[in-house]
Amino acid sequence: MKKLAKGRLWFLLAAVLMLLFAAACSSGEEEASGTEDTSGGDSSGEASGGEEGGISGDLEIQYFVGGYGDSWWKEVIADFKEEYPEVNVIEHAGPNINEEMRSRWVSGDPPDVVYIDGAGSSETQMVEDGQLMNLTEWAQEIELENGDKLVDNFIVPPSDYEGEIYSLPLVFDAWGTWYDRAWFEEAGYEVPTDFESFMSSMQEIKEAEGIEPFVTSGQHPYYFLRGMLYPAFGAAGGDELLASLITGEEGAWSSDVVLETMQKVEQMASEGMIDSGLGSLNHTQSQMNFLLHDNAFIPVGFWLPNEMEADVPESFGEYGFIPSPMQDAGEPYAVVPDMRPLAIAENAENPEAAKAFVDFVFTRDYAMLFSEHTGAIMNVSGVDLTQNENVPAYLTEANAMINDPEQVQLYHKPHPMSADLETPIGNALLSLMLGNMTAEEFVEEAEAAAAQYRGN
């Protein structure tokens, strides 16, 4: 009997332990989800200024942290807290923040301000879902520090959704083609100025170095789409062509202009200029191969040097940036800016503080600071980067180039391409780059994808 009682005691103990374990598990989960919010805490009492019309309460800001890092955000938010001591800023930030915050958006309890960038985010989708506040009227009221109207001083105007504005483009990024300037100078390789010289330069490098000169991420074919094809389409057919391709207009993808551009890609593939192993490369792997001189050209945005800062091998010389040379001889380079916008949620709980924050961010001082921190450009005109030593050389040069219409022509897309269209087109594009598809087949697939997209 004693033995039995002892046995029961053990079972009871085990059961209690199990329950405790289960309880610990569940509370652990809560804690884990709590840590992603790096709460700003309160900074009341410290601030000096800011009797700003009684704006207070919690302000939740969601921002993606990728190639640009988060140091600029930290500084801006700290300044904002000083200016508005009554506002408790709660930051939701990180490289996976779009996924982590998705449930909040689905349940109708979104953060107040969102910076739309990175994997898992789609401005177009958010607008289609009615998640962003219509800023058309309010945007007219925003002023820069010297009283200039913001809407008149954007480098690139906000995305246009049937005449309405739902987001304000914060970061001006431009995709282009990168090369190692020091390496090219030393070996005497030509820096391409148009598609013809691009091909001859690649031919020369291929023969001299025994490498396939061009690489991009095969796991994310949109790097090629945005980095090479958008400029190519812009140069070939202007804003109109870009708009019709991005909205998937009937007949746009199967037009002759597009076919001719895609034949250039086919030529690159068939002449062995494109890395045959790119199918399995994610973006950092392709960037690493570029830095290791396994390849000579790579299309990426301005964030490349910042993102790869810790991984640059000694053999790598100096970053050189040109707009992607896909245009015909005699024409200026084409650049299609890629904007990363700031928006306010339709269901923001504290819209006043959200507006105050958005207003606060758009100044020329913060634009200068942004270039220092990230090596990219904030979408505000009239910022003179040339006098600032902290801004990297490639950026001042690229900036000067972009602002010289003789060298570079700017083209604009109406809004980003929907993932529903970009995914199938990217898949066909990869097949084309791997040499498994012809330009004609690609065009056919792309037209079918656009038809499917229009149908949804």
Binding site: M1, L4, G7, R8, F11, A14, A15, M18, L19, F21, A22, C25, S26, E29, E99, R102, W105, V106, S107, G108, G120, S122, Q125, M126, E128, D129, G130, Q131, G218, Q219, P221, S276, G277, L278, G279, S280, L281, N289, D294, A419, D420, T423, N427, A428, L430, S431, L434, N436, N456
Partner: protein, 325 residues
């Protein structure tokens, strides 16, 4: 995963309570009917509630959402009837994903069962001194996360630095070098190897358990009758471990249909050009990359239906009379 833990814990608690109860019963206490039902309710009701919340509710809500058009990133949704199902039947990629899934199922079942059987027989019957060591070595991949395995094998397959291509170069077989995961032809077959490698250990242990239970006298009798090792294997070992073989095959099939998503997502993301998409990874892409959550739910329903049909067919094919010598 969230649902599984409290679920299994409750089950274990009930089992323990039940065993202590029976000990008590055999001792002195006589149990009344009411007590018995109370006890059963105590065991079953919480489990059933958990099961409903974590299994039935998601199952039916998945079915429910498959009739809606929704992006999955907002609460807006629009009832569209069977449109998602019509789209499913007209989607060319769906057929590819099904073929890819069953390609993995077939190659994994064959690969894992042959290797696991071979190792199990070798380690139990060949009287190898280092058997315990090998048992640990072969089981090792099973305690690794599939994500880690995927990343590890990505390095192995790396076109420039990877073990496979450098090995081929070392052997002078440069013409066989390929960008394995980057090739539309070779990417899917390349996923089979890590999947098999990761799966052998568990099934080897299961089969070893089965073989260890076979009485030595059968083999002695067979030997006296002049049966070769090969005949002993087919006539004695296989029939007597058939229940384990059957369970193993079913388990591989189910986990592949539901779980090959992970290795695909980690190693290729479904690419290049959809060459490795399985149903699960395509579901993920539709629901969370292309923002077609409703359509993703429809693909989920398809996976459920196909898994059920496959398991039923397998149950039928693998049925055998229980052998008892």
């Amino acid at each position: 995963m969230r649902g599984v833990i409290p679920h299994s814990i409750l089950f274990i608690i009930c089992l323990m309570a039940a065993s202590s109860f029976s000990i008590e019963k055999s001792g002195e206490m006589v149990q009344s009917k009411k007590q018995k039902y109370l006890f059963l309710a105590f065991c079953l009701v919480p489990t059933f509630i958990m099961f409903s919340i974590f299994t039935l509710y998601p199952l039916f809500s998945g079915l429910y959402y498959s009739f809606f058009e929704m992006s999955g990133s907002s609460s807006n949704k629009e009832f569209i009837g069977f449109d998602n199902y019509i789209r499913l039947f007209n989607d060319d990629i769906i057929l590819d994903t099904i073929i890819h899934d069953y390609f993995l199922v077939v190659t994994k079942v064959i690969g894992i069962m042959i290797m696991a059987m071979f190792f199990a027989v070798a380690l139990t019957q060949l009287k190898i001194k280092e058997a315990p060591f090998y048992r640990i070595v072969f089981f090792f991949p099973n305690i690794m996360s599939v994500v880690v395995i995927g990343i590890l094998w990505m390095f192995i397959y790396n076109p420039d630095l990877g073990l496979v291509n450098s090995g081929l170069a070392f052997l002078g077989l440069e013409n066989l070098q390929r960008p394995w995961l980057g090739s539309e032809t070779w990417a899917l077959p390349s996923l089979v190897l890590p999947s098999i490698w990761a799966g052998i250990g568990l099934f080897m242990l299961m089969l070893m358990g089965g073989i260890a239970n076979i009485s030595k006298s059968y083999y002695e009798a067979a030997e006296i009758d002049g049966a070769t090792q090969w005949q002993q294997f087919w006539r004695v070992t296989v029939p007597l471990v058939w229940p384990q073989i059957k369970i193993s095959i079913l388990y591989i099939v189910i986990t592949t249909l539901n779980g090959s998503f992970i290795i695909v997502q980690v190693m290729t993301g479904g690419g290049p050009n959809n060459a490795t998409h399985v149903m699960g990874s395509y579901l993920y892409q539709q629901a969370f990359v292309q923002f077609n959550f409703g359509y993703g739910a429809t693909i989920g329903v398809m996976i459920l239906v196909l898994s059920l049909i496959t398991v039923m067919i397998l149950q039928f094919l693998l049925r055998r009379e229980k052998v008892d010598y």
